[in-house]
């Protein structure tokens, strides 16, 4: 009799513990989804808000004077594709001058050819060896004619650098052009995979976030002004922000050097809205309702599921202006 009573009590207790057992599966997974979302937010927010940081020593000013620091497609060695690049709503590239490697300076000798050797001008805090540049650094070279290109340092000796072009261009840079270390961050949703990936402009292409089910970038800026676009000091363009659609970002007018043209409307971008949606990695914790689960799973019932987590945030990169 005592044993029977014990079994009954035990059964009741285990039945009561079932919801707790379900929670022990779903709560850690929910925490995991939130943590992945926070990580993606931090990475995107940090790189977007600092995009366009320009030089502070040589020809000081933001990058937007010469090139678009935000583009909705890939730049770098693996950019490939057509010369006039097609915008993607689930991809973005940011460019900003880096503070971490070599120092900004100007060229003493011209850059010609695909693998040029160039000599650097020395400055008060920029001397041998190579102003702090090292092999594998990514650098940006630009001049007053609004020509620009990304290079990778393949060798650094004395005040000389051997460079390799990141794009299929033949742009020639004369002495006096600015060279600066640059950070390139390309974020994109990997086609056919539920991954947010990061590409560094050369060979580094790694997953950043698993179980991404939605990634979308929208661009905002002042309305297009009449007159020349490419030669406008774009930071002076002001006015209420309107959405700049993907069609506007691919219909010209085309600016920039041969081999690396960009749509002039990219210079109007002042803010980016990011939509991120992440799902549970455990398919058994995903339910059937498509409003909660972009990729439904077999879970049924009310409890024990982990709905997709989504966040939308807008970033106004500070280096794109407008400034007071």
């Amino acid at each position: 009799m005592a044993l029977a009573l014990t079994i009954v009590v035990l059964a009741v207790l285990l039945e009561l513990a079932r919801p707790a057992s379900s929670l022990t599966r779903s709560l850690p997974e929910a925490a995991n989804v939130q943590q992945r979302l926070r990580h993606a937010f931090d990475r995107l927010h940090t790189d977007l808000i600092g995009a366009g940081r320009g030089t502070s020593l040589a020809n000081p000013g933001p990058l937007i004077r010469y090139l678009p620091p935000l583009v909705p497609y890939r730049l770098g060695l693996r950019s490939g594709g057509a010369e006039r690049r097609v915008p993607r709503s689930d991809a973005i590239t940011t460019l900003s001058v880096s503070r971490g490697s070599g120092l900004e300076t100007t060229l003493r000798t011209p850059i010609v050819g695909s693998a040029p050797m160039v000599e650097l001008d020395s400055r008060p805090s920029c001397g041998p060896p190579a102003c702090g540049y090292r092999a594998r650094d990514l650098v940006l070279v630009f001049d007053d004619q609004r020509a620009w290109e990304l290079f990778r340092v393949t060798r650094a000796v004395g005040m000389r650098l051997t460079l390799a072009r990141a794009h299929a261009t033949a742009t020639v840079f004369g002495p006096g052009a600015v060279i600066a270390p640059v950070e390139l961050h390309h974020y994109y949703a990997a086609p056919g995979r539920t991954e947010l990936r990061h590409y560094d402009g050369w060979q580094g292409d790694f997953p950043l976030l698993d179980d991404l089910v939605d990634l979308r970038f929208r661009y905002f800026g002042p309305a297009a002004a009449a007159g020349p676009v490419c030669d406008t000091v774009s930071s002076d363009v002001r006015g209420p922000l309107v959405e700049i659609g993907p069609t506007e970002l691919a219909d010209g007018p085309w600016c920039g050097p041969a081999g690396l043209p960009f749509d002039g409307d990219l210079l109007r971008i002042r803010a980016v809205e990011v939509d991120l949606r992440v799902q549970s990695a455990v398919v058994e914790l995903r339910g059937a309702d498509p409003r909660l689960f972009r990729r439904p799973g077999p879970a049924s019932g009310r409890g024990g599921t982990v709905p997709d987590h989504a966040v939308t945030f807008t970033v106004a990169p500070r280096n794109l202006g407008p400034w007071p």
Binding site: A2, L3, L5, T6, V9, L10, L13, L14, L16, A17, A20, S21, L23, T24, L27, P28, A30, A31, Q34, Q35, R38, D42, T46, I49, G50, R53, G54, T55, S56, L57, A58, N59, P60, G61, P62, V97, R99, R123, P124, S125, C126, R318, N319, G321, W323, P324
Partner: protein
């Protein structure tokens, strides 16, 4: 007597207690695990939120100081320390809500040491405290309590100026704004301002780690 007369193998006294204790341990383990997961998640989330809040507070102060400096026709009194920000009346040492101390004179020295250690040849930037106070006071909103303390330092950017500049000391100014919050929340942003004959403008804006 019959109970006392049973053999040792038939004695089931205490078995219910054993089962009950095992069940209690099982349930307690499940509950404890959930508590740990929830409290960790709560702590991570709160830490993240405090960091984001501190970032925007620092950026807000930077925007205010930048606007103020743009309206100053001559930056030399700013460099010399004879002119401070209009937002600079707070105490130099405060305690945050968690009891942690913020000592701005010590932090100025620490910032200078870090800059000197990272600098190259020639005179480096000289940092000077320019604006400080509770962020709530900057907003004019004390209803939400004084949680974040903010401070801004200015420097002349050091000796390595653009060679085109003629009077270096009045041509460029670097502003670093930092927000301090409870539980070690701390974020810094930095902007470099330049002045030409006609106007002053922001040259760069940057996160500082």
């Amino acid at each position: 007597m019959s109970r006392l007369g049973g053999t040792r193998g038939d004695d089931r006294r205490g078995s219910a207690l054993l089962v009950t204790m095992l069940t209690a341990v099982l349930v307690s383990g499940l509950a404890g695990g959930l508590v740990i997961v929830l409290s960790t998640e709560q702590a991570v989330e709160a830490n993240h939120r405090r960091g984001v809040t501190a970032f925007y507070a620092a950026d807000g102060l930077l925007a205010g100081v930048t606007t103020e400096l743009m309206e100053v026709a001559d930056w030399r009194p700013v460099f010399s320390g004879s002119r401070l920000s209009s937002f600079g009346s707070g105490p130099l040492s405060v305690r945050l809500a968690d009891g942690a101390a913020v000592d701005l004179p010590e932090m100025t020295l620490q910032l200078q040491r870090e800059t000197d250690a990272a600098g190259g040849p020639g005179p480096g930037p000289l940092w000077r405290l320019f604006a400080w106070g509770w962020f709530a006071d900057l907003l004019g909103d004390t209803s939400s309590g004084r949680l974040l303390y903010v401070a801004a330092w200015i420097s002349d950017g050091g000796a390595d100026q653009d060679p085109d500049q003629t009077t270096e000391a009045t041509q460029r100014i670097v502003v670093r704004a930092t927000a301090f919050g409870p539980f070690r929340a701390r974020r810094s942003v930095e902007a470099s301002l330049g002045r030409t004959a006609n106007d002053a403008h922001v040259v760069t804006w940057d996160l500082v780690y």
